[in-house]
C-alpha cells in the first residue's frame, strides 16, 4: 500500500461534515470534569458558569459505543497505516486554540481534515508515520475552537531476543604447562599455591621456570592462607567474554604472603578491601581462584 498516495487522497477530500456533540454544553458534565480534575475555578459554577476551555474536545468525543464517521480523516488514515503494518499508536502533540469560552446550552459541532502525513521515520518506539489532523469546533457558523493533533502510527520495534545465559563451562581456559600445572592442580584440591624458589626461597607469581633473583630452575611452592587486600581492580563492561555475564570485576589482590594475583571479585570493589580466596569449580578439569570480601572484617 502506498501510504503517501492514500494520504494525499484523504487530504484531498478536505474537511469532514460537521458532527454534532451528543449533548449541548451542560453543567452536569462540567461539574463531573471539574470534580475529577480538581479544578475549583469559580467561573465554572453558578448562574453565569462557562465551560472550562480544555473541555472543548470532551463535548464531541465519540463516547463508549461511538463509531467514527466514514469521512473522519484520522480514522481513514489509521486504517491505511494499520494495513501497511504500522499498527501501534501514540499521541504526540495537541495544540488547542480557544476563541471564546462556551456557555451551557450551546451545541457545538466539529469538523476534521488531514493536514499532514510524514514518514516513514525511525523513532525510539519503532518506524512510523506522523499524522497531523486539524479539528474545528463551531457553534452554528462561528468558529469557537481549533486543534492541531498529531499521532505517531508505528510498527513496534521487534523486541530483542532474550540474552542466552552464558554457559559457565565455556570460559576461556588457562594454558596449563609444566611450569603452571602445580598451581591449577592445587586449586582442584582447594589449595592456593604460590611458587617459591627452591634455592633462595623467593615467592613469585605468576609462575615461571626460573627464579628472577638467583636464576635457579628448581621451583617449589607454599600454600597460601588465602587472604589479601585489593591492590587494584577493573570493572569489565565490554567486550563480552565467553562464559561471563558483563559487567564483572577483576581484582589484583595483594596476598598476605606478598605476591599479587588476579581474579574475579564477587561484591563491590574497593582498593584496600580485605578479601579471601574462593575455589570456584568450573568443571571437573578446572577450578578458578576467585575472591570475595573477608567475612571476619
Amino acid at each position: 500500500m502506498d501510504v503517501e498516495k492514500e494520504a494525499a487522497r484523504i487530504a484531498e477530500a478536505g474537511e469532514s461534515a460537521r458532527r454534532f456533540a451528543r449533548d449541548p454544553v451542560n453543567l452536569p458534565m462540567i461539574h463531573n470534569w471539574t470534580e475529577a480534575i480538581g479544578d475549583t475555578n469559580p467561573r465554572y459554577t453558578g448562574p453565569d458558569a462557562v465551560a472550562p476551555p480544555a473541555m472543548v474536545q470532551v463535548w464531541t468525543m465519540y463516547g463508549l459505543n461511538g463509531v467514527r464517521d466514514a469521512d473522519d480523516p484520522l480514522g481513514a488514515m489509521v486504517r491505511v497505516l494499520d494495513e501497511a503494518g504500522f499498527t501501534s499508536v501514540v499521541a504526540t502533540n495537541s495544540d488547542q486554540t480557544y476563541h471564546r469560552y462556551l456557555k451551557p446550552g450551546e451545541h457545538v459541532s466539529v469538523t476534521a481534515r488531514l493536514e499532514d502525513v510524514t514518514g516513514p521515520k525511525k523513532t525510539a518506539l519503532g518506524e512510523g508515520w506522523f499524522v497531523t489532523t486539524r479539528s474545528t469546533w463551531y457553534v452554528e457558523d462561528e468558529i469557537v475552537a481549533e486543534m492541531r493533533f498529531r499521532i505517531l502510527k508505528f510498527r513496534p520495534a521487534v523486541a530483542e531476543k532474550p540474552k542466552a545465559e552464558p554457559v559457565r563451562t565455556q570460559v576461556i581456559r588457562p594454558a596449563i604447562n609444566r611450569d603452571t600445572e602445580y598451581f591449577w592442580e592445587g586449586l582442584k584440591q582447594g589449595e592456593l599455591r604460590i611458587q617459591r624458589c627452591g634455592q633462595c626461597g623467593l615467592l613469585r607469581h605468576p609462575p615461571g621456570p626460573m627464579c628472577p633473583e638467583c636464576g635457579a630452575t628448581k621451583p617449589k611452592y607454599l600454600v597460601s592462607e588465602g587472604y589479601g587486600v585489593v591492590y587494584s581492580y577493573v570493572v569489565h563492561h565490554h567486550p563480552r567474554v565467553p562464559g561471563r555475564e558483563v559487567p564483572f570485576v577483576i581484582a589484583l589482590v595483594e596476598l598476605d604472603e606478598g605476591v599479587r594475583m588476579l581474579g574475579e571479585l564477587a561484591g563491590v570493589p574497593r582498593i584496600g578491601l580485605p578479601v579471601q580466596v574462593v575455589f570456584t569449580k568450573v568443571d571437573d578439569e578446572l577450578t578458578m581462584p576467585t575472591w570475595r570480601p573477608r567475612e571476619d572484617r
Partner: protein, 127 residues
C-alpha cells in the same frame, strides 16, 4: 505577573481513582485508561492518564496560579512518557514571553520516568 515569574510547583497524585475518574469525565473510554489487565496486556506498566486530562491539568495549573480572571486562549502540549497510576506528576512553570497583551507560560509535567508533558499556555490577563 512578569516574564521570568515562576509558578509554584504543583504535585498531582495519579491514583487509579484519579486516572479512571478523569478518563470518564473526559468521555474517554479506551481500556488503557481504566482496565489494568488490558493495559498490561497491551504492553503498558499500568493504566495511564489520557491526553484530555493532561490538557485539563495543564490548564488548571496555570489558572490556579493566574486567577479566575485569566482567559485561557491556547494550550499547546507535547506528550512524552506516560503518567501511570501511582505516579506523582510534578508541574513546573514559568512565564516566558508576552504576545500582544497575552502572557505565555511554559509548563513541564514530570514523573519519575521523565517528562510526561511539555508545553505552553497562552492567557489573557486583565489590566
Amino acid at each position: 505577573m512578569r516574564i521570568g515569574d515562576s509558578l509554584p510547583e504543583w504535585h498531582v497524585e495519579a491514583t487509579p481513582t484519579f486516572v479512571i475518574s478523569t478518563a470518564l469525565a473526559t468521555r474517554d473510554f479506551q481500556d488503557v485508561h481504566h482496565d489494568r489487565d488490558l493495559a498490561i496486556k497491551r504492553g503498558s506498566k499500568d493504566i495511564f492518564i489520557n491526553i484530555l486530562t493532561t490538557t485539563g491539568l495543564v490548564q488548571r495549573y496555570v489558572t490556579d496560579w493566574a486567577g479566575e480572571d485569566a482567559q485561557v486562549k491556547q494550550v499547546n502540549i507535547r506528550l512524552g512518557a506516560p503518567c501511570y497510576a501511582y505516579d506523582t506528576l510534578k508541574f513546573f512553570g514559568q512565564v516566558i514571553e508576552r504576545v500582544e497583551d497575552d502572557l505565555v507560560v511554559e509548563v513541564v509535567g514530570r514523573t519519575g520516568h521523565g517528562d510526561h508533558v511539555t508545553g505552553t499556555v497562552r492567557i489573557g490577563v486583565p489590566g
